[in-house]
């Protein structure tokens, strides 16, 4: 039980973020992903991360693209050896973040990658951190489901769709939004070009000579 409580605590701690810093981190990742020679996203993806806030509100949101369908991954345009390793025909990436700027806190996170496999069947990957506020409509806040194990606050859905049962919710360590995007792309395009932490680099950092 304690480890699940600790994980929940780590997710609460994770929420303490400055929205502009998060946005800059995300933009750096999106920029890298949209620059050749290995561009997974259309160029200037970093400028399509849109900041928006309602008037007289401390809430600010960041969304990737105002179009509701998200950003298409340029899978068919990847150079050949990379393209051959991709098991997806098409995929869309969407990023939805909501912050309370007055207390520098991430309230809600939804990062999704979904599309079709090569055989045309659907595939979806979604990382959620539910809104933490407890309201009349959502008295549980970010404590969804039965508990901190089966429904960790920061969790990832994997499946053909998000509705197909059994609904899998993988508990995630406290990853920042930019890291989540990096991880998702690394799952969709599992090649060295899209691995942000290759093992030799990990080794070098663990044991600097």
């Amino acid at each position: 039980m304690k480890s699940w409580v600790d994980l929940y605590g780590e997710h609460q701690w994770l929420r303490g973020m400055h929205d502009r810093e998060v946005a800059n981190e995300l933009r750096a990742v999106l920029r890298r992903l949209s620059e050749k020679p290995y561009a997974a996203l259309r160029r200037d993806a970093q400028s399509r991360l849109v900041e928006a806030r309602a008037p007289r509100s401390t809430t600010v949101q960041y969304t990737l693209g105002r179009e509701r369908s998200g950003e298409a991954l340029l899978l068919s345009e990847l150079p050949e050896p990379v393209r051959d390793r991709v098991a997806l025909r098409e995929a869309l990436l969407s990023v939805l973040l909501r912050f309370d700027r007055s207390v520098q806190r991430l309230q809600e996170l939804n990062i999704m990658l979904s599309g079709l496999r090569l055989d045309g069947t659907p595939w979806a990957l979604a990382v959620h951190l539910p809104h933490e506020d407890r309201t009349l409509g959502r008295p549980q806040g970010d404590r969804e489901g039965l508990g901190a194990c089966g429904h960790a606050a920061l969790h990832c859905h994997v499946g053909p769709t998000l509705d197909v049962k059994p609904k899998i919710r993988v508990p995630l360590p406290p990853l920042r939004p930019a890291q989540i995007v990096e991880w998702m792309i690394s799952q969709a395009i599992p090649t060295p070009e899209f691995e942000p932490a290759p093992w030799p680099g990990v080794e070098a950092m663990l044991h600097p000579s």
Partner: protein, 178 residues
């Protein structure tokens, strides 16, 4: 409806070797906006920070981010030296960060028509653009979906709407607009 990031990126990219202004509400946000621009521009722009027009002009192949100590003087210098950016032709723009309604904008309006003209249309206030036009957004939502945000959220909250990417996005915007 203009998006702040797109407006900044477009203003900077529009004229090869041109001039863009980024308007900042205060000095703290100015620092953040400089970092935002650094995160937005292509890697080969090799941006560098300076407070001097001469230094900016001296690096025609790097994006100069001018963060002035004296806005009025920098604007005057830019106005007078503007065409020096044509010879040799710059390949990267100059981006000047000015306080909203500050000395720089006042000097542009009063004394510096050339600099003002060069940056015409590339003069962005990202904080102002980030504020949603709620009426327009609600209208766009309703036109696209056929119901108001509040009406759309009812079946969503009772789990009667499929959990697709599109619906998660709609729910997110509906909660912003309700």
């Amino acid at each position: 409806m203009r998006e702040p990031g797109v407006a900044i990126a477009g203003a900077i990219a529009r004229d090869e070797g041109g001039l863009a202004f980024i308007t900042c509400p205060d000095l703290d946000l100015r620092d953040w906006l400089v970092r935002e621009v650094e995160s937005l521009v292509p890697s080969d722009a090799r941006p560098f920070r300076t407070s001097s027009v001469a230094e900016a002009l001296g690096e025609p192949n790097r994006m100069a981010l001018i963060i002035p100590n004296d806005e009025a003087e920098v604007v005057r210098d830019l106005d007078a030296c503007r065409d020096q950016a044509l010879e040799p032709p710059r390949t990267q723009p100059i981006v000047l960060f000015l306080l909203r309604d500050g000395d720089g904008h006042h000097t542009l309006a009063l004394e510096a028509p050339s600099a003002w003209s060069w940056a015409g249309g590339s003069d962005v206030d990202p904080e102002a653009l980030a504020e949603l036009d709620m009426d327009a957004e609600r209208e766009a939502f309703t036109a696209e979906v056929g119901t108001t945000p509040e009406e759309w959220l009812v079946p969503w909250r009772s789990q009667d709407v499929p959990r697709t990417q599109e619906n998660f996005t709609r729910a997110f915007w509906a909660m912003t607009l309700e």
